[in-house]
Amino acid sequence: MASEQKRNSSLRVGVDTGGTFTDFVYKSQGRIRVLKIASTPTDPARAISHGLKRISKETDNPLKSIRVIHGTTVGTNALLERKGAHTALVTTAGFEDVLEIGRQARPELYNLNVVRPPVIVPEELRFGLRERVTSTGEVLISPTEADLRELLERLRSSRPEAVAVCLLFSFLDPRHEKLVSDKLRELEIPLSLSSEILPEYREFERTSTVAINAYLQPLISRYLGKLADNLPLLRVMQSSGGSLSASAAAKEPVRTILSGPAGGVTGALQIARAIGVENIITFDMGGTSTDVSLCDRQGLRMTNESIIAGLPVSVAMMDIHTVGAGGGSIARVDEGGSLRVGPESAGADPGPACYGRSDIPTVTDANLVLGRFGKEGLLGGEFKLDEMKAQDALAGLAKEMSQFAGRAINAIQAALGVIKVVNAGMERALRVISVERGHDPRDFALVPFGGAGGLHAIDLARALGVPRVIAPQAPGALSAFGAVSSDVVRDFSRTVMLATGRESVSAIERSFQQMERESRRVLKKEGFPNKRQKHERILAMRYKGQSFELFIEYNPRRSVALAFHRAHRERYGYSEEGNVVEVVSVRLRSTGITEKLKLEQLERQRSRKIAEPAYYARVVFTEKPVRAPVYRRDLVRAGTKLRTPCLVTEYSATTLVPQGASAQMDSFGNLIIEP
């Protein structure tokens, strides 16, 4: 069929590289397919091309015609492990050490053995150039041709693989950075200019961002280049949600640092929107860390104050809050008698006690002792867990707790304590991204994913008053699903620094129009006609004198100052109507809307039907073990309700539904739980 062929010719595949599996999500013959291939950590591209070849054969699409959208952690990992390029940095003379001095503060107050995260550009690769622009944009000292030539020679002899350039106030006048880049072009190595990547004030944060970009450039462009050889239509998930072309990602890899997690959040949002839910909080709990984020009517929430691997990254990214706690977090009783969980993690080796190689009690051991994995254990039973070991580890912890409490505490009580403490940490993280940002959790649904998300989500929903939990099917493949359904997103911003008032309205309006004109042109070139474009206008505002802005949706018919006073009151508890209100920057978020994978609806059972459990097991929900039904997720049909309390198991995750909650499978295969 012609139309079928046409659809085939633009087959889209979402690809997400995880630690264990590389996931592929695509649509074939009207159905959404998930393919899992064992990851190849030393060369992630191998698993990807292996999987894509299979998909190509299966769907009868030539590899070169497949549109791949890829979520990758290659950049993040290189940064975490400090395995980026041999990078040089050019600064204004006298300021070569800004990157090392940072903000001059130590990361921990009371730790006498505190260390700093290593600097990514060592001293001998930092070069000062005699030049200066002032805070009004006036050029005080221009670099001379001789100075530029000398810089070139010094750089040449130090043999860097990439160069970052960050001069003071270059966001006001980028000409000196341009002169440097013209001069250095003959080195034929990647150059990153701060005036292009992050034209905003605060030199340390800007230098850090542009240095990271240079540091990752050679690696990422090699990696993507190799992939793109066979996949000319390759796109990459960016940290702000949405995708960008492989060539843009190779040039500005700093925008892809949260590429992996961005897919998961986009996927969660996609699933929620499909069932008509607008506001969600995502909760991705893994082995060593947990990521939470919030999406409202406008989609993902953004921040430009991220810290990644100990370094500030100030380009706009999804506002993900990470806590260093997960299934592998270690539980202990400290000298004062408090039950602590994390931040130390047992990791994969030796791993939790139940992996059989240690007697360290962890969150996973606590869940196991409470019977919360059912019979299957992890990965559908492929990974055997040693229950006795877990029991012993928790019994040891219980003994210590008993000493301080002055009463006998048993292993089950200790395990429940561990869960409570780790949940308290998660609750705090969820509050940071909701309540502390002025959102009421009662207006949101919680979407858990990651291996451990479903085990903790319902308790957390109860603690926060969240009325609904949506446990998506195949939570392991959510990132790839998000990638395949992601839009093309471009963010523009322009610093205007205007006091609010009648005159400023027209200036603001003009800036938005200019940005939008440019953006429409670009999106059209990428194949999005006007009707598939969306342009959102945001103002970054503050009281004159403040340093941090609130983001206000721009509405030309309403007073922006009033909107700001209200937002300030909601967020900080007061407003000062007598103060001058400034518009610091105007921001445009342009979206090219891709065609979504239409989620297939499962065949519905007649309503009110109760699902049939796979078996019964002894599970501790609150105090004592009770006999509870365990459902295998793939055997539960749409529309059926589950008997609670219960466990729902699937290959890569388990969901715990405690007493008093109600759970039902919806027609998209999501488990909808009212806590």
């Binding site: 006498l112 003071l168 400290d334 408090s338 039950l339 409490a405 429940l416 403040q546």
Partner: protein, 550 residues
Amino acid sequence: MKQRSKQFDPTTLEIYRALFTSVTEEMGVALRRTAFSPNIKERRDYSCALFDSAGRVIAQGDHMPVHLGSMPMAVAAALRAVKLEPGDVVALNDPYAGGTHLPDVTLVMAVYGGGSSEFGGRVRKISSRQPLFFVANRAHHADIGGASPGSMGVSSDIYGEGVRIPPLKIVRHGEIAEDLMSLLLANLRGQYERRGDFAAQIGSLRTGEMRLLEIVEKRGARQTTEYAQHLIDYSSRIMQSAIRQIPDGTYEAEDYLDDDGIATDDIAIRLRMVIKGKHATVDFTDSSPQVAGPVNAVEAITVSAVSYVFRCLVGDVPASAGLLDPIKVIAPPGTIVNAIHPAPVAGGNVETSQRIVDVLFKALSQAIPNRIPAASQGTMNNLTIGGIDVRTGEEFSYYETIAGGMGARPSLDGLSAIHTHMTNSLNTPIEALEYAYPLRVRSYKIRKGSGGEGKHRGGDGVVREIESLVTARMSLLSERRKNAPYGLHGGENGAKGVDVIIRNSNPQPDPAESARHERIASKGSWLLSPGDVVHIETPGGGGHGSQRHR
């Protein structure tokens, strides 16, 4: 009763530990994001804490150590002086009534069940007649009046240092007390900025109140207040177990302040530390009498320094009142470590506090040599520059403390260009600084080779050069210009600090009018003409162990 109150659940204790700390952290975020002065919003020179109904501290954010140990005395003074009704906020800065030095203004608010505001539109279900808790924050205002812009100059009594605020209500029943506010603002430089900072401090207290009440509503007033007590006992137990790990004995040490900015004599801080079982006594009796210049420390600062040092010996515990339970501090009135009215104290908080820390660690290095670092830079290099900004016609007052070298540790080099011990304020970004003030930063670099040699090297200090673009008055309060930061166990001392004014520094040299380097004293005030550059080299940290073993 006492027996019963000792019963606690380890799980619940941990949950409250985290809950209370997160309230103080959020108060800090609110303050930083709404404040006007670079010193608060960029440098984070502030602290937030939570107190029980008796005014004992139960949680503090990881902010400024020098504030944290001394805030309890501010709250105690506020409670003695006034009755805090719902919606009231007390302000104070008087070093002789709960403060430390005048620029640090502390605000205190009582938290009643029922709350004081409708922040967030939430309805309160619980009400109480007595306060359940107190919340407080302390922020360093970039000017508090007095003779020198920035209020960190050399005066010979407290009256020259600025406005003293005894505990007074700056907010009454939710409304700002405009009479008091206008009296205050009339005596400070940069009124707009100061008022914005006060508003931010008040907003931060309300954030704390709201979060506490959410906890109380969810968990009940009884359990919440009970666990506040358990946390205090908990910190006390942790500290006792830390002291027990120090060998019993008497350890003595001394070190010196360079001078007081008026006379040039060394000023001694002498310590006798007695460790016995789980208790410690730190006795400063033989220290110098208080001095004429502004390096006197009030008792709150000495207690704060002691609290900091012992806090470094334990793991990650809440800095609650219990930490100091097993420690007795003896600081006789009238000495440099417990000055009495009307001694000037601007530098006691920032300089003397650092030296007290150096002396405490020196004593401890005899008891537990493999855990104690060599001396860090031992100063905060307080620089203030103020005058009229010709671009706007308005007053400005810039305050900054400059990082230096950290002392080497028994198994690690010291870090370079970093704030140590009693402070942890950030730098003002150069681009933020030049936007805000008529100043230009000429260089900001690591002072290579200034760390003391040793098996482990001390961290290097910093070189910071700032040019004034207008006629301005500049003050410096600094230390370790004469007595270097000590090395330990054969490690060499760190380099001393150096301060220079480069007159007429402009890049086009006229042979007749070439730049002139003027070495200046560690403490004092100077007039700057446009084009003059202040050049400061901060001290390096001491080395640890002999270099032969490197």
